[in-house]
C-alpha cells in the first residue's frame, strides 16, 4: 500500500505532514507562511494562512495536469479561390468551437492563471475519429453543420480542421495563493475551509467540493474544482440561516456546519448534479446548553466537539439520512476533530494538544475503540524551536505585507540556530526570583467567543506583570534549556540575534523582548478587535516544558489512508527509539535481509556441513525407512456422469517417495454407487493444475490433468469449509510441485496467466514447449498458483514481472512465491506482502413504460426480472446480491452507475425499444423500456509476492522482451494509466524491477493498450480503437519522439496489441486476431492487417514471436470453454502466422503472458538443407529443420 499523508498545523502555524509509512512529522519546508487551517485530500491540500489568504498545495504527480484547448478552422469552397477562409455571411465564424456557434480564434485563448503554462504552440490534429486524415487534417462536408468525412468528394463545399494546444499546470509541490476576489468594502477574510466530495461523482474527473466560512459567518463554495482545474474558478456564496463558524465536508455528500450559537446545520440535496446542495436543516447540539464548537464528517459518520470539550458521535448517518438519528457521548476531551479516509478519525486533545488517532474504526464499528496518541518526533525539533520563536514574534501579524518579512525572519532564525549550535555554551543568565514561565500561544476555536475574550483579557493583563518572553526550547541541549527557562528575558529576535557573535548578552535580549511585547502584542489586540478571530493568543496557562511533545492546533486526515491491516509506527515511541527503529527499518529495506552476512554465512555453512558430514557417507543406510503418508478427509465430488450432482466421498492423498528420492502421490476418491463401494484415482504427477473455485455456496476446487483439459471437464471437489479447502489445496499443490521437482520462486522464463477470478498461475516452460515441429502440447503444461489478485500480468525473460489489479493498482513481483492460502512451506516468507483489490459488482434495475403510469417496475410477464444481472436472466436484487466470493467484502453501498457505455440520463437511465436491445442515454418516442445500472464496491484482502507501485493507477503495461542471454541494463517498461496517459518507467533493471519513476509521454488522445517489441518497437491502441506506432524508441531514447497513426483493419476498432521479436498482432473489439504485414526494419509500421482468427480475446506475442491467445468458445469432448489459453502452432521465423491452434488450460482464463519465455527450442539440424530451401518451405512441413534462428531482416 502506498503511503499517504496526515497533515497538521502546530500552535505556531507551522504545517507538518506525517506519512503512514513514516515515523516523524515532516515540516512542510515550502511554507514560509504560518497557517491557521489545512484541509487535505489525496491529491492536494488547501489551507488558510495567517494572512487570511487561501493557499493550495498540489502534490506533484508523474502524470502532469494538462488540458487540451481546441478550436476549429472552417473554410468554404468557391470557384475562384477554391477552399478559402471566405465564408458566406450566414456561415459560422472562421474560427469557432465544434458547434460553430462560438467565435474563438487562436489568439483568444488565455492561460487561466499564472500557474499554468503552454506546452507548445497550436498544431493541427490529423486524427479523425480514429482514422488518419490527409496532411492538413481537413475534414469535408456538403455544408455546415453536417457530417464530416476525411475524404474530399465532388460535392464537398465546406471543410474544417481541428487545432489543438495543451496547457500544463506548473505549480506543483508548492503553496500557491488563490487570488481573493472580494470587492466589498469591509474585508471578510476566510476563517475555515474544508475539502471533500470526491466520491460524489467521477465526472468531471477529480471533482472536489471546497467549502469555506468567512469571519462574518458566511459560507462560500468554490466552483469547478476538478483535475483539469485544480484551483477552481469562482467563490459562490451559499446562503445560511445564521452565522456559521466552522464547516466540514466528507468524501461523499455529507456537509455539516457549526453555527455561532452552537447548533449544527446539515446540507441537504448534495448530489451528482448539485455539489453545492440545496438546503440546510438544523440539528440541535448534543447537550442542551452546551453548544457545539466543532464538527467533522466522513462518509457515514459525524463527530462533534462541544464547548466543554466533550466528543460526540452521531448515530445513523448516511447519504440517505444526512442528519443521522442521535448522539452518543464518547470518551476523551478534544478541541478539534477530523474525519479522514475510510471514516478514520483524528483529534487534538484538549489537555495536551497532542494529535490523537481513533483506533479500531472499521466499517462495522464506525465509532472505533480508543484514542491513541500519535507520538512521533518532528523531523527537526531544532529548526522547529527556532522558527517557533519567529512565529511567536509574528503571531499577531495576520494581514498581507508581513508575509515576506516573516519568511525572512524564519530563515534568519534558522540560520541563527545553526550558528548558535556551533557556538556552544550560552552565557548563563542571572536567575530571577519569581520567574514567570515561558508561554506558548494558545489556539482557540474561532467560534469560542467567550473563551476568546477571556484569553484576550489575559493577554492584556499580562502586560502589567513582568513580561514573559517565550523562550526557545532547546530540545537538543537539556541543560541549556533549563537555563533558558530560568531566564525570562531571553528572547530570540531576528533583528537582534542575526549577528555573527553567537554569544548573547542580556542587554540585547532585553531589547528584543521589549520589541516583542510592544509590537505583535498590539497587533494581536488590534486584530482581535477588528474581527472575532484570534488565531494565536499568548495565553497564560500551559507552560511549555522542555520534554513536552509538540502542541498541535489542527489536523486533517482527508488524504490519509489507514486501513485495518495498515501498520502504523506512530505510537508509543519516544524520540530516540523512534529514530533508531526508523533507521533500523530503513537499513532493513535497503539491504534486504536475504543479503545479510549472517544469513549468507548460515547458508554456506549448512551446505558445507552437509558436504562434510554426508557426502562420503551416502552409501550408509538411512536410520529411518521411508514410508507412505496418507492424508484423508471427507469431501463432496461433482459426479462425472449424469445426473451430475455433488456426492459425498472419502478423499485421500497417499504420498510416497519415488526411486530417486522424488516424492509422488496418488489421489483416491472413494464413493458409493448403487450401494457398492468404488474408487477413482489420479496420479499426482499427472495433475496439471488445481483451480480454486470459490462461490458463495460451496468451497470448491477443480483438478485438471492433460486429458481432462482436453475434455474441458475437470474433477471438481468441494470441501466443507474454506479453511479445509485451503489446507487441501496447499497440500496438493506442494505434492504436485514435489512430484515435478519444482520448488522455490518462479523462474525468469515463466509463463504467467490470470483467471477471471483474479487468481494467478505460473508455469515453468520447458525447452520442448516451443519446439518445432513437435512442441509439448500446452494441455500438458503444469500450472501452480501464486498468491495475490490481479487482472493483468506481464513479464519478460529478465524476471521483471508486473501486474495490475482490478482497481488499477500496479504491482511488481518481489521474486517470492506463495502467499494467499499457501502458507508455511509452499510460500516464501520475506517477500510476501498484503495485497488488496477493489472491484464493482453491477446489477440492473429494469422498467417498462405503460401509458397510464409511465415507467414502472411492473414489467410484462415475458420480461426479465425487474432487478437483474446484465443479461436479465438472473434475478439480482440489492439485498440478495452477495460479493463474488467469501474473500470479498462490501465496502460501499449501492450507487447508481452513470459511467455506462452508451450514456445515461440524469438519473442514470438508459432507454431502449425493448429488452434486450441496444441502450441509449436519452429517451425517445420509440422507447418502451429503460434500465439503469447500480454498482457496489467490494474489496478483497490477500497476500502475495507483490509490492505496490504507487501512485499512478494503470490499465495496461508492457515490458521489453529480451533474449535468454540478453544483458539489458535498463528494461523498457511502458504503461497506460487508467486515464489513458502513456507512461514510460525509468530505472527498471532485473535487480530493481520496480523502477524509479514514471516519464509521461504526451499524446493527443487517451490510450488503452500498449506493447513493446524486442527492438523497442512500441505499438499502442487508442481508446477510439486506432493503432499508433511510436517512432525512434531505443535504449538511449526510451520515450521515442512521435506517434505514427496506423489505420485499423476496415470497420474494426482495435482493442489490444502485442509485439514480439518482429511480429505485431492485434485483437479487435469483435474478437478478431490480426497480424501486421510488411513490417521491416526500415518500415516498422508495416503495410496491412491480415486476419488470422476469430473468437480471440487477448493475444501475447513472445520474444521468439510465439503467439499465445486467450480464446473463447473452445470445444472439448465434454464441454465448451470460454477463456482458454491457446498457442499458435507452426509459428516459425519465416512463418510468423503459424497454421493452427493448440488448446491449453481453460476456461475462465483472462490473461496470459509468454513474454518471459525466450527458451529456444532444441533444433534438429539437417545439413543437406540450405537457407534458401528453408525460406521457400511450404507450410506445415513436418520434419524440416529450422535453420535460421533470426527472423529475416532483423
Amino acid at each position: 500500500m502506498p503511503s499517504s499523508l496526515l497533515w497538521a498545523v502546530d500552535v505556531y502555524g507551522r504545517v507538518y505532514s506525517l506519512s503512514t509509512a513514516g515515523q516523524q512529522w515532516e515540516h512542510c519546508r515550502d511554507a514560509h507562511l504560518e497557517f491557521k487551517r489545512v484541509t487535505a485530500v489525496q491529491q492536494c491540500c488547501w489551507s488558510i494562512a495567517c494572512d487570511h489568504n487561501i493557499y493550495l498545495y498540489v502534490h506533484a504527480s508523474e502524470v502532469p495536469i494538462r488540458y487540451q484547448e481546441e478550436t476549429y478552422e472552417n473554410q468554404r469552397w468557391n470557384p475562384v479561390d477554391g477552399f478559402s477562409d471566405r465564408l458566406l455571411p450566414s456561415d459560422r465564424w472562421q474560427w469557432s468551437d465544434i458547434t460553430g456557434l462560438k467565435h474563438q480564434p487562436l489568439g483568444d485563448f488565455q492561460l487561466p492563471s499564472e500557474n499554468w503554462e503552454w506546452e507548445a504552440d497550436w498544431y493541427i490534429d490529423e486524427n479523425f475519429g480514429g482514422e488518419p486524415t490527409e496532411k492538413g487534417g481537413w475534414t469535408y462536408a456538403i455544408d455546415f453543420p453536417a457530417t464530416y468525412t476525411k475524404d474530399k468528394k465532388w460535392n464537398s463545399c465546406v471543410r474544417r480542421r481541428r487545432w489543438i494546444r495543451y496547457r500544463r499546470y506548473k505549480a506543483q509541490d508548492t503553496w500557491v495563493k488563490i487570488p481573493s476576489e472580494q470587492t466589498e468594502s469591509l474585508p471578510d477574510p476566510f476563517n475555515d475551509i474544508t475539502c471533500g466530495g470526491w466520491e460524489i461523482t467521477e465526472e468531471p474527473r477529480g471533482c472536489l467540493a471546497l467549502w469555506a466560512v468567512s469571519l462574518q459567518g458566511k459560507v462560500w463554495f468554490r466552483c469547478d474544482i476538478n483535475h483539469h482545474n485544480p484551483e477552481g474558478s469562482v467563490w459562490e456564496e451559499v446562503p445560511v440561516p445564521g452565522e456559521v463558524v466552522q464547516i466540514s465536508c466528507g468524501p461523499g455528500d455529507l456537509v455539516w456546519a457549526v453555527l455561532w450559537e452552537g447548533h449544527l446545520l446539515v446540507r441537504e440535496g448534495v448530489g451528482r448534479d448539485c455539489l453545492k446542495g440545496s438546503s440546510w436543516v438544523t440539528v440541535e447540539s448534543p447537550s442542551p446548553g452546551v453548544g457545539v464548537v466543532h464538527v467533522a464528517v466522513g462518509v457515514n459518520v459525524v463527530w462533534a466537539v462541544t464547548k466543554d470539550h466533550k466528543v460526540w458521535f452521531r448515530r445513523g448517518v448516511n447519504s440517505h439520512n444526512p442528519c443521522g438519528s442521535g448522539w452518543i457521548g464518547m470518551v476523551g476531551e478534544m478541541v478539534m476533530i477530523n474525519v479522514g479516509l475510510s471514516d478514520q478519525v483524528w483529534a487534538i486533545g484538549f489537555e495536551d494538544r497532542a494529535v490523537y488517532f481513533r483506533q479500531g474504526v472499521t466499517a462495522s464499528e464506525l465509532s472505533g475503540k480508543a484514542w491513541k496518541v500519535v507520538s512521533v518526533p518532528r523531523d527537526s525539533e531544532r529548526s522547529h524551536s527556532s522558527a517557533s520563536a519567529s512565529s511567536l514574534q509574528s503571531a499577531g501579524c495576520f494581514f498581507g505585507g508581513e508575509v515576506r518579512l516573516q519568511s525572512q525572519a524564519s530563515m534568519l532564525s534558522d540560520a541563527d540556530a545553526e550558528t548558535e549550535r556551533a557556538g556552544g555554551e550560552v552565557v548563563p543568565t542571572p536567575e530571577i526570583g519569581d520567574a514567570p514561565k515561558p508561554r506558548i500561544p494558545k489556539v482557540t476555536s474561532d467560534s469560542f467567543i467567550s473563551e476568546l475574550v477571556s484569553d484576550r483579557e489575559g493577554q492584556i493583563s499580562r502586560r502589567d506583570v513582568p513580561p514573559a518572553g517565550p523562550s526557545i526550547p532547546e530540545e537538543d541541549h537539556p541543560e541549556k534549556e533549563l537555563e533558558d527557562r530560568a531566564s525570562p528575558a531571553q528572547v530570540l529576535s531576528p533583528s537582534q540575534s542575526g549577528g555573527v557573535d553567537p554569544q548573547w548578552s542580556n542587554v540585547d535580549l532585553e531589547e528584543a523582548q521589549t520589541h516583542l511585547t510592544s509590537g505583535p502584542g498590539g497587533d494581536a489586540a488590534e486584530t482581535s478587535s477588528l474581527s472575532s478571530v484570534a488565531t494565536y493568543n499568548l495565553a497564560l496557562e500551559e507552560p511549555y516544558g522542555l520534554d513536552e511533545p509538540p502542541k498541535w492546533a489542527w489536523v486533517s486526515g482527508g488524504g490519509c489512508l489507514v486501513e485495518c491491516h495498515t501498520q502504523l509506527n506512530w505510537f508509543n515511541s519516544s524520540t530516540s527509539t523512534a529514530l533508531n527503529s526508523s533507521m533500523q527499518a530503513m537499513s532493513l529495506s535497503i539491504t534486504p535481509a536475504q543479503t545479510a552476512a549472517w544469513r549468507k554465512q548460515i547458508f554456506e555453512q549448512l551446505s558445507e556441513r552437509s558436504k562434510r558430514e554426508m557426502e562420503n557417507f551416502m552409501h550408509y543406510e538411512q536410520a529411518i525407512e521411508q514410508s507412505v503418508w496418507v492424508k484423508k478427509g471427507t469431501m463432496q465430488w461433482w459426479r462425472d456422469w449424469k445426473p451430475h450432482k455433488w456426492v459425498d466421498v472419502q478423499f485421500a492423498l497417499e504420498q510416497f517417495s519415488g526411486v530417486e528420492g522424488n516424492k509422488d502421490g496418488i489421489l483416491f476418491i472413494y464413493y458409493t454407487f448403487n450401494d457398492e463401494k468404488k474408487y477413482l484415482h489420479m496420479f499426482i504427477n499427472e495433475v496439471t493444475i488445481l483451480v480454486p473455485v470459490l462461490n458463495d455456496s460451496k468451497h470448491t476446487f477443480a483438478i485438471y490433468t492433460a486429458e481432462r483439459t482436453k475434455q474441458r471437464w475437470p474433477m471438481r471437489l468441494a470441501a466443507a469449509t474454506e479453511l479445509e479447502m485451503h489446507d487441501w489445496l496447499a497440500l496438493l499443490s506442494v505434492s504436485c510441485c514435489d512430484s515435478r521437482g519444482i520448488q522455490g520462486p518462479p523462474s525468469k522464463q515463466a509463463i504467467w496467466s490470470v483467471t477471471c477470478k483474479g487468481d494467478i498461475f505460473v508455469s515453468e516452460p520447458t525447452k520442448e514447449l516451443e519446439a518445432s515441429p513437435y512442441p509439448t502440447p500446452c494441455a500438458q503444461m503444469f500450472w501452480r498458483q501464486v498468491g495475490g489478485h490481479l487482472r493483468i500480468i506481464e513479464s519478460n525473460s529478465l524476471g521483471v514481472v508486473w501486474g495490475i489489479g482490478y482497481d488499477h493498482t500496479a504491482w511488481v513481483h518481489t521474486g517470492g512465491y506463495g502467499g494467499g492460502f499457501f502458507q508455511g512451506l509452499a510460500s516464501s516468507t520475506d517477500n510476501i506482502y498484503t495485497q488488496t483489490d477493489v472491484k464493482s459488482v453491477y446489477i440492473y434495475e429494469n422498467q417498462r413504460w405503460n401509458p397510464v403510469t409511465g415507467y414502472t417496475n411492473r414489467g410484462l410477464p415475458t420480461d426479465r426480472y425487474m432487478w437483474s444481472n446484465a443479461s436479465g436472466l438472473k434475478e439480482c436484487t440489492k439485498n440478495n446480491t452477495k460479493p463474488p466470493s467469501p474473500n470479498w467484502t462490501w465496502v460501499s453501498d449501492w450507487t447508481i452507475d452513470y459511467a455506462v457505455p452508451g450514456g445515461t440520463d440524469r438519473e442514470g437511465w438508459q432507454y431502449a425499444a425493448d429488452f434486450p436491445a441496444s441502450y441509449h442515454g436519452n429517451k425517445t418516442l420509440k422507447d418502451f423500456v429503460r434500465r439503469r445500472r447500480w454498482a457496489r464496491k467490494c474489496k478483497l484482502t490477500t497476500t502475495g509476492p507483490w509490492q505496490e507501485v504507487p501512485p499512478i493507477p494503470l490499465s495496461d503495461i508492457t515490458i521489453l522482451p529480451c533474449g535468454p542471454k540478453s544483458t539489458v541494463e535498463q528494461v523498457s517498461l511502458w504503461a497506460i494509466s487508467n486515464k489513458g496517459d502513456i507512461l514510460c518507467r525509468l530505472g527498471v533493471t532485473s535487480l530493481t524491477p520496480g523502477g524509479s519513476s514514471w516519464l509521461h509521454v504526451g499524446t493527443d488522445q487517451p490510450f488503452k493498450s500498449i506493447s513493446i517489441g524486442a527492438v523497442h518497437q512500441v505499438w499502442a491502441i487508442a481508446k477510439d480503437g486506432s493503432a499508433f506506432y511510436r517512432g525512434s524508441v531505443s535504449a538511449q531514447n526510451p520515450a521515442g519522439d512521435c506517434w505514427y497513426h496506423i489505420p485499423s483493419p476496415t470497420g474494426q476498432k482495435l482493442k489490444q496489441v502485442s509485439v514480439g521479436r518482429t511480429s505485431v498482432y492485434t485483437v479487435d473489439e469483435n474478437g478478431n486476431l490480426w497480424y501486421r504485414h510488411g513490417v521491416t526494419p526500415s518500415y516498422p509500421q508495416g503495410s496491412s492487417w491480415e486476419h488470422i482468427s476469430n473468437n480471440v480475446r487477448k493475444v501475447s506475442v513472445g520474444p521468439l514471436d510465439q503467439v499465445w491467445v486467450i480464446a473463447d468458445k473452445v470445444q472439448g469432448s465434454h464441454s465448451l470453454s470460454c477463456g482458454t489459453v491457446c498457442r499458435r502452432l507452426g509459428v516459425l521465423p519465416m512463418e510468423p502466422k503459424g497454421h493452427s491452434w493448440d488448446y491449453g488450460i481453460g476456461g475462465g482464463w483472462d490473461h496470459i503472458t509468454v513474454r518471459g519465455n525466450a527458451m529456444e527450442a532444441p533444433r534438429i539440424v539437417m545439413p543437406s538443407l540450405t537457407d534458401n530451401q528453408t525460406a521457400t518451405r511450404p507450410l506445415q512441413t513436418s520434419n524440416q529443420p529450422e535453420m535460421n534462428g533470426n527472423p529475416v531482416g532483423c
Partner: protein, 311 residues
C-alpha cells in the same frame, strides 16, 4: 537466491554418519561387526537405532538383551538430547564417521534416563514442544491443537516426514507481526562440562527499546566468555594448547578459559565455538530468526558451546 525454507530442509535432513561398535565388555557368541548408519541430526538416538539393536542382538545371548545404551569416548550419550546436539557437544571436529560404542550391560543409572519404548521418547518430545510453546505463545498454540495434530508432529519426526511435520509445526512458529517475535525464545545452551546440564533462561527476541536481539546478545547475557573471545579474535587461529582429546580434559579447559575470561585481553584467541546444527552462525544473527529456522523439532534452539579446536 537461497530461501529461508531451504534452511529448514537442510536442518531437517542433516545426517551424521555413525559407526556403532559393540563394547568389548559385552559378551557375545561371535564377533560383532560394526554397524554403519546415517543418523538424522534432529532425531533421538533411541528412536532411530532399532536396526542397531537388531544387529547386535543377533550375536548376543538372549538373556543379555537388556536396555541398550550408547557411549562416546567414555561419555554416556543422553538419548533425550537430539543426536545433533550430542555430536556437536562431544564429537565435533573429530573424524567421521562418529564412533559410538553400544552397551547393554551396566546401565549408567546416574547419567542416563531409561528409555523402554518409543512412547517415552514421544512423551519427552511432546513435553519439550509444550514447554517451548509456553515460552513462545504462553502455550496457546499447542493447546489449541487437537490430539491428532500433536500426533502429526510426532509421527512427522518419527517417520522423518518433513512436510508432515512442518505442515503442523509452522503454526508453532507464527507470531504477531507487531511484536517482532516470540514472547521468549526457547533455547538451551550446553557445555561439555558444567555444574548444570544446560543453561536455560527467559530471553526475549526484542529488547525493551525495540531492538532486534541477536545470538551475540544472548551469549553476552548467558555466556560472556564465548563472545569476548570471539569478538577479539575471530580470525586468529586458536593457539590454546589442548592437553587431551577426552571430554574430561575439554571440560577443564573450558572452566579454565572461563576463569581467564574476566581479565581477557584483546589478543585473547578464540576459545569457544558456538555451534547450532554443526555450524557457527555469526553473532549478529537475529535470535528470532535462529529460533524460527534452526530450532530442533522440539522447538528448542539447542546451542552447544565447545572449546575451539587447537589445530
Amino acid at each position: 537466491m537461497a530461501d529461508d525454507k531451504d534452511v529448514l530442509r537442510d536442518v531437517w535432513f542433516g545426517r551424521i554418519p555413525a559407526c556403532f561398535t559393540l563394547s568389548p565388555e559385552e559378551t557375545t557368541e561371535r564377533e560383532a561387526e560394526p554397524y554403519y548408519l546415517l543418523l538424522p541430526r534432529v532425531s533421538y538416538l533411541t528412536l532411530v537405532t532399532d536396526k542397531v539393536k537388531k544387529h547386535f542382538l543377533r550375536v548376543m545371548k538372549a538373556e543379555d538383551s537388556t536396555e541398550m545404551w550408547f557411549e562416546y569416548e567414555g561419555t554416556p550419550l543422553k538419548w533425550h538430547y537430539p543426536i545433533g546436539v550430542l555430536f556437536d557437544l562431544h564429537a565435533s571436529n573429530t573424524a567421521l564417521p562418529w564412533n559410538v560404542t553400544v552397551h547393554f550391560k551396566n546401565f549408567p543409572e546416574h547419567d542416563l534416563l531409561h528409555c523402554t519404548s518409543n512412547s517415552v521418547i514421544e512423551a519427552h518430545f511432546m513435553s519439550c514442544i509444550k514447554e517451548a510453546d509456553a515460552l513462545k505463545h504462553k502455550g496457546q498454540v499447542i493447546n489449541d491443537m487437537q490430539k491428532k495434530d500433536h500426533k502429526q508432529l510426532w509421527m512427522g519426526l518419527q517417520n522423518d516426514k518433513f512436510d508432515q511435520f512442518w505442515a503442523m509445526n509452522r503454526k508453532l512458529m507464527e507470531y504477531p507481526t507487531d511484536e517482532g517475535g516470540f514472547r521468549y525464545i526457547p533455547f538451551r545452551m550446553y557445555q561439555t562440562m558444567g555444574e548444570r546440564p544446560f543453561i536455560q533462561k527467559l530471553f526475549r527476541p526484542v529488547s525493551p527499546e525495540g531492538h532486534t536481539l541477536t545470538l551475540g546478545d544472548l551469549l553476552k547475557e548467558l555466556f560472556p566468555a564465548a563472545i569476548c573471545a570471539e569478538e577479539h579474535s575471530c580470525d586468529l587461529v586458536a593457539t590454546l594448547p589442548r592437553p587431551g582429546t577426552g571430554s574430561q580434559t575439554a571440560g577443564r579447559n573450558s572452566d579454565q578459559a572461563q576463569r581467564v575470561e574476566y581479565g581477557a585481553s584483546i589478543d585473547e584467541p578464540k576459545r569457544f565455538q558456538v555451534m547450532i546444527h554443526g555450524i557457527e552462525p555469526l553473532l549478529e544473527t537475529p535470535i528470532q530468526w535462529l529460533s524460527e529456522h534452526l530450532s530442533h523439532p522440539d522447538n528448542f534452539l539447542h546451542i552447544s558451546i565447545i572449546p575451539a579446536p587447537s589445530d
